[in-house]
């Protein structure tokens, strides 16, 4: 059984190449070997936990360069630091309203239940951009600005019109899945952690297959280990089809239609 595969979470890291175009080209060579049709790319070639607006702009410029080189294979998500509200709104307009990007990436600068995120989320929702938020519950201790799925649940409750993906499903996925379950506008992105068996089965059992997204977190993670979470799961093929591409296509459809992008 072969499936169409769209990957909701990839980076320009873990591969050789001195330019964003070269790096995405390298990533796609590996993606091809596993039949992955499209990658959502976010953040640039260098990362910063608490970036300045200039750093963020540079990072997004690199992603723009990469996705413009492979328009049929990659979507871009705009990286924002919500501590800088106006700069974030400007960057949203530049990359999503006026550019080709289709989603937002929020990382670890500020916990996402902070009210400073509200205008950014509201604007993203107006633009129909999907908001992906890094979430982890670390027994070893989160970074000061690192969000948990419980933080995301608070944010999502304030913005029922927005669409969120809970990146890594909180790492500690048994708690993460339960934390986001009451909020139908949050999707579980299963990327990034170890391919621990039972993860995807529990997500499907608690959330339904239509709220689970495949992502890899490549190149830090292998496409292989993350794909195995779906292909190796004890769930029906119909559920795998949704998780591997169907759900992402559905939530991206409004913004793709608005931009005239046919897939």
């Amino acid at each position: 059984m072969s499936f169409e595969i769209w990957d909701v979470h990839a980076h320009l890291s873990g591969v050789s190449g001195t330019t964003p175009e070269e790096r995405l080209g390298q990533l796609l060579k590996y993606a091809d070997r596993l039949g992955i049709a499209r990658l959502c790319v976010m953040m640039g070639m260098k990362w910063n936990y608490d970036p300045t607006p200039e750093f963020v702009r540079q990072s997004n410029d690199e992603v723009l360069r990469a996705i413009r080189a492979f328009p049929d294979r990659a979507f871009g998500f705009v990286y924002l630091n919500p501590k800088h509200t106006q700069a974030s709104l400007d960057e949203l307009n530049r990359c999503v309203r006026d550019g080709p990007m289709v989603g937002v990436k929020l990382w670890v600068a500020l916990r996402c239940n902070d009210p400073r995120l509200d205008p950014i989320v509201a604007r993203a929702a107006e633009l129909k951009a999907v908001i992906t938020q890094h979430c982890w519950i670390k027994i070893t201790g989160n970074l000061p600005g690192e969000s948990t799925p419980m933080d995301l649940a608070e944010l999502a409750a304030r913005h029922p019109q927005a669409t969120f993906s809970c990146i890594h499903t909180g790492g500690d996925w048994e708690r993460g899945i339960c934390a986001i379950r009451p909020h139908p506008n949050i999707y579980a992105d299963i990327n990034g952690g170890d391919p621990t068996a039972g993860f995807t089965e529990m997500a499907v059992r608690k959330l339904g297959a239509d709220r689970v997204l495949y992502g890899s977190d490549a190149g830090g993670r292998s496409f292989a280990s993350q794909l195995a979470k779906v292909l190796g799961a004890d769930i029906p093929d119909s559920a795998k089809r949704l998780i591997l591409a169907g759900n992402l296509k559905r939530i991206l459809q409004p913004i793709l239609r608005e931009k005239g992008i046919k897939v």
């Binding site: 670390k138 027994i139 790492g171 170890d194 391919p195 068996a197 039972g198 292998s222 280990s225």
Partner: protein, 288 residues
């Protein structure tokens, strides 16, 4: 010949016989190019959750369906149980009952428990195990611990493969009441100098020190090797004969390790080495 020397010879012979049996079982299953030896599976129950394939029959079906011709099996019970003899007895019996020779038992020994030498003796003499699997972090000793070094020396004399498990799960996601630090691998380099000829395999290691793989007979599995094209990149750095297939099923989705081989552009020779030849070589060394 002294009594001691004669006993040592007997033990070596027992291990060699065990290795020969498992090697023969692996070799007769399928043609060489179709063989797949999984050096890292577990039986019984992970203490903190049920896993989809933690019934042995189901695990065997999963392995068979994915073309595995032999699987080296440890027991999750080895982590926390103190009656190690019973853990190993159940493991041996479970491997005998399921899979028609697919499962090869790798018993455990905890060198911090009294009478561990007897557990080692049983692994070799009673169960004819070709190797043992150690969990230094769960058993609470560093890799320069004197009892651990003694265990390695005895295991080496008996011709056993010794698997050392680096981690069982991501530190960030451990249960708050069961946080187990991964052991520092650095002391292994000098410890191995004291145990020449020992065949040691590191399991569940993300980035083993290259100098360790280049010194002595040390190998690793691919279960926790990560990054895009990780296996291919690692083979460009590490000696090709030191990288073995290991899935860490049923804790990990078995498909993860298999897809890693597909993700990296590997030569036929590299594929054969990782899938089976390197594991067969380890078993064969026991018999020589």
């Amino acid at each position: 010949m002294s009594l001691q020397a004669s006993r040592r010879d007997f033990l070596k012979t027992a291990a060699a016989a065990a290795g020969a049996v498992w090697l023969r079982n692996a070799a007769t299953a399928k043609p060489a190019e179709d063989q797949l030896i999984d050096t890292n599976v577990y039986l019984s129950r992970w203490p903190l959750r049920r896993l989809p394939c933690d019934e042995t029959a189901r695990l065997v079906a999963k392995l068979r369906a994915n073309g595995v011709t032999q699987a080296w099996a440890g027991s999750f019970d080895a982590l926390l149980h103190r009656d190690i003899a019973s853990v190993n007895a159940r493991l041996a019996e479970e491997c005998r009952r399921h899979g028609s020779g697919l499962l090869v038992p790798f018993g455990t020994v905890n060198p911090k428990l009294p009478d561990w030498e007897e557990d080692l003796r049983r692994c070799v003499e009673q169960y004819r195990m070709p190797g043992i699997r150690l969990h230094p972090n769960y058993h609470g000793y560093p890799l320069d611990d004197a009892d651990f070094v003694k265990l390695l020396r005895l295991a080496g004399r008996r011709g056993l493969i010794v698997q050392v498990v680096h981690v069982m799960e991501d530190r960030r996601m451990m249960h708050p009441l069961l946080q187990v630090e991964p052991p520092n691998l650095k002391p292994l380099g000098s410890v191995l100098k004291e145990t020449p000829g020992l065949r040691l395999q590191l399991l569940n290691v993300k980035s083993p020190p290259l100098d360790l793989l280049n010194s002595g007979n040390v190998s690793m599995d691919i279960a926790m090797l990560e990054g895009v094209g990780g296996v291919g990149k690692w083979l460009a750095e590490a000696p090709a004969e030191r990288v073995l297939f290991g899935s860490y099923a049923p804790m990990f989705y078995f498909e993860s390790a298999l897809l890693k081989l597909k993700e990296s552009p590997l030569t036929e020779e590299q594929l054969r080495a990782v899938r089976c030849a390197n594991a067969q070589r380890l078993l064969a060394t026991i018999t020589s």
